[in-house]
Amino acid sequence: MRKLTTATAVALGILALGAGAASAEKLTIGLASEPTSLDPHFHNLGPNNAMSVHMFDRLIAQDERQRLSPGLAVSWEPIDDLTWEFKLREGVKFHDGSDFTADDVICTMARAPEVPNSPSGYGTYLKGKEVIKVDDYTVHFRTAEPYPLMGNDISTIPVISELGCNSTTEDFNAGTAAIGTGPFKFQSYTPGESIVLVRNDDYWGEAPIWSEVEFRPITSGPSRVASLLAGDVDMISGVPTTDIETLSGNDDIQLSQGVSNRVIYLHLDQFRENSPYVRANGGGEIVNPLLDVRVRKAISMAINRDAIVERVMEGVARPAGQLLPDGFFGVSDNLEVVAYDPQGARALLTEAGYPDGFELTIHGPNDRYINDAKIAEAIAQMLTRVGIKTAVETMPRSVYFGRASTGSPEGLPEFSFILVGWGAGSGEASSPLKSLIATYDKDAGFGSSNRGRHSDPETDALIQQALRTVNDAERESLLAQATERAIENVAIIPTHFQVNTWAARKGLSYIARTDEYTLAMGVVKE
């Protein structure tokens, strides 16, 4: 039965190629992680955002490299220091046939931060912004201070209809309120089992080639690969690195890869004289050597990033020398990946007064990033070989992030040396700079994930200035300078950028995205 449908699909595919027209074709995608809801404002989480892109357009779209492009807004620009004007696209209809106007934008921006029971909402992106309807197709966003990241922030908010604004999360999950302007329409949703969408034939933009898309969550990696090999699904996301070598040798399978916006890095305790997981040789107390920039540099030099990429990640990653890969906004052209130099590392340690090293524990999650526990182990091996005897403790992310953020008795970060990752949702360097590098400041919302508590006034000043500079070229240069300074001070130690892999049956390929989203619109026939 199933084989028959696959055969039909293939036959239809050939027909469609011949006719060159959109036809009735179904696509089935095996997802590594499942959205928690179809309510686009319920949970600010990668899989949810990826799913909502199908049904709900944003005012500003992000392309596969997270560059901004017109979505439901045809233009957005500052008309004075504190006001951004958005011109809306005319003639767009929601899936239920109603017209898209400024009223929908106003109510969307009101609902997005205020969804009941939401574990993590979109208030972060709308804070301090006032939305004003000017006419049916013009809205203004006002801020108290000049704000250059308006476009990035607004590009994260899915636009819903006025009907949806008065609906609950349950209504969205049931489909009755799941009405957007996007390229796909809601068909059915069975949590844990499948989400089925159908093509929106009245889509304002480029119509998708798939008439129907089914998403099936298959969280176990090997099972997901087996489902693809068995022909259950046409494409899978999150191909485990262990299987890439065999899959690339399989003629029936097409792999698509792309670097992501996620950097894997190390935070080092830079705020405690006595750090709980740093010890003198033999276990005695010691003044925290990580406070010394030479020690931090030595650690960075002792890490063989190529070995991590080649051996642990099986070649599927890119060594990192800064916060975002090349090509992103605010990346510095002057920074190189720190070269592996164990002798140099030993020399620096000796210079800093630790010729025999010291004892350290690296903490990391074991179910969050690609091969995270193995990376932590590899880093510990490398540090141990230059004299810093490093123990490894990995734990599930459910325990890890809480302890890493506020686990000490005083509510401070518990660990001394940790492995973490950061995905720049906004697609520019201000995101990691603001959250990871800037001095921890609760009231200003800076350094919220700065778990090493690195603090450098000059870097802070550069970041703050960048966040007030609306001129793109100037801002880009400020961000690059801030990044350079942070890396020079070894605020954090970046190790590599994650590379994501999708696998599809022969004849299909996926346009890899830096934001790690899996979108049916990106699945193309070859």
Binding site: G221, P222, V225, A226, L229, P240, T242, D243, E245, T246, A307, I308, R311, V312, N366, D367, N371, A373, K374, A376, E377, A378, A380, Q381, T384, R385, K389, T390, A391, V392, E393, T394, M395, P396, V399
Partner: protein, 304 residues
């Protein structure tokens, strides 16, 4: 084997002790003897692991990712041969399996022994006290037994967190009731026997009757239950590790090795999952075979 025992001049020719009879009958089965031998070898390998392996897989100074995923027979950077290949982190699988067996056997045996002791005491208390206390205890035992051990262990690990001690505790909680039920059932049978009545008539204290007379008679069925439960504890630990709630990955038990190897099953690097899998299989099968045969030997109803 049995002939040898019977003809042994050191053994008085008169009545055999129950243990001698048991031993003779046990070694009649070639399979059970073989299983016992394999199990003893596995335990010895685990105990002496540090002296017979080329690498301490838990010492990060000896492990390097540069050795990662090497096929069986490759040479490591430090010059020794990895006869079973290496895993993704560069651990020599032969060393890792032996060290892993230490942890798995420790978990299995520790949880088995502790659960046995607790279950035994509770079962004996029930049989000794009788009346209301017995009713309440057995009600709790029944209730606990109506829940699948796997779920109880899973919930306990969810509530306790990770770690060897916590896994052992979870397994003890999941298993004690099996022992309690066995002890109490045997004790009930013994309690109604004439020798107990006779002892009671002689005015011997109840505690003495329970511990001197009833307890020794419970040992045989307890040991049988113990073997089966130990084997299942080792498997259960592997399953919990697969589900991501088992032991830490950096000091892998045999279960964690298999769970890690699960990722490699489709990758063509068969050795990372197959060898630890075989080790677990051998361990559990040998324990089960021994337990199985002991049950047959100890079950009077199957006597010819």
């Amino acid at each position: 084997m049995s002939d040898m025992t019977a003809n042994n001049p050191a053994t008085p020719a008169r009545v055999e002790t129950p243990f001698q009879r048991f031993r003779a009958e046990f070694f009649e089965s070639k399979i059970a003897t073989l299983a016992l031998a394999i199990f003893v070898i596995i335990v010895l390998l685990a105990v002496f692991a540090p002296w017979i392996t080329p690498q301490n897989p838990y010492d990060l100074a000896q492990v390097t990712v540069m050795d990662g995923r090497l096929p069986p027979g490759s040479e490591s950077i430090d010059g020794y041969t990895m006869w079973l290949g290496s895993d993704g982190s560069g651990r020599d699988l032969y060393s890792a399996i032996l060290y892993g067996l230490r942890i798995s056997l420790t978990v299995g045996l520790a949880s088995g022994v502790i659960a046995l002791l607790i279950g035994m005491v509770i079962g004996l208390v029930a049989a000794y006290a009788g009346g209301r206390i017995e009713a309440i205890i057995m009600r709790i035992v029944d209730l606990q037994l109506s829940f699948p051990a796997s779920l109880v262990a899973l919930m306990m690990v969810a509530a306790l967190g990770k770690g060897v001690d916590k896994i052992i505790l979870a397994l003890v909680i999941a298993q004690w009731a099996y022992y309690a039920r066995t002890v109490r059932a045997t004790a009930l049978v013994e309690r109604s026997k004439e020798y107990v009545e006779a002892a009671q008539c002689l005015g011997i204290s109840r505690a003495r009757i329970v511990f001197r007379h009833i307890l020794p008679n419970c040992m045989a069925p307890l040991i049988v239950v113990g073997t089966v439960q130990t084997a299942s504890a080792i498997s259960l630990e592997a399953t919990l590790s697969f589900l991501g709630v088992g032991l830490p990955q950096t000091e892998p038990s045999i279960g964690v090795l298999i769970a890690n190897g699960f990722e490699y099953m489709l990758s063509g690097r068969y050795w990372i999952s197959v060898f630890p899998g075989l080790a677990l299989l051998l361990t559990v099968v040998s324990i089960n075979l021994v337990g199985d045969h002991m049950r047959d030997v100890l079950n009077p109803r199957l006597k010819k």
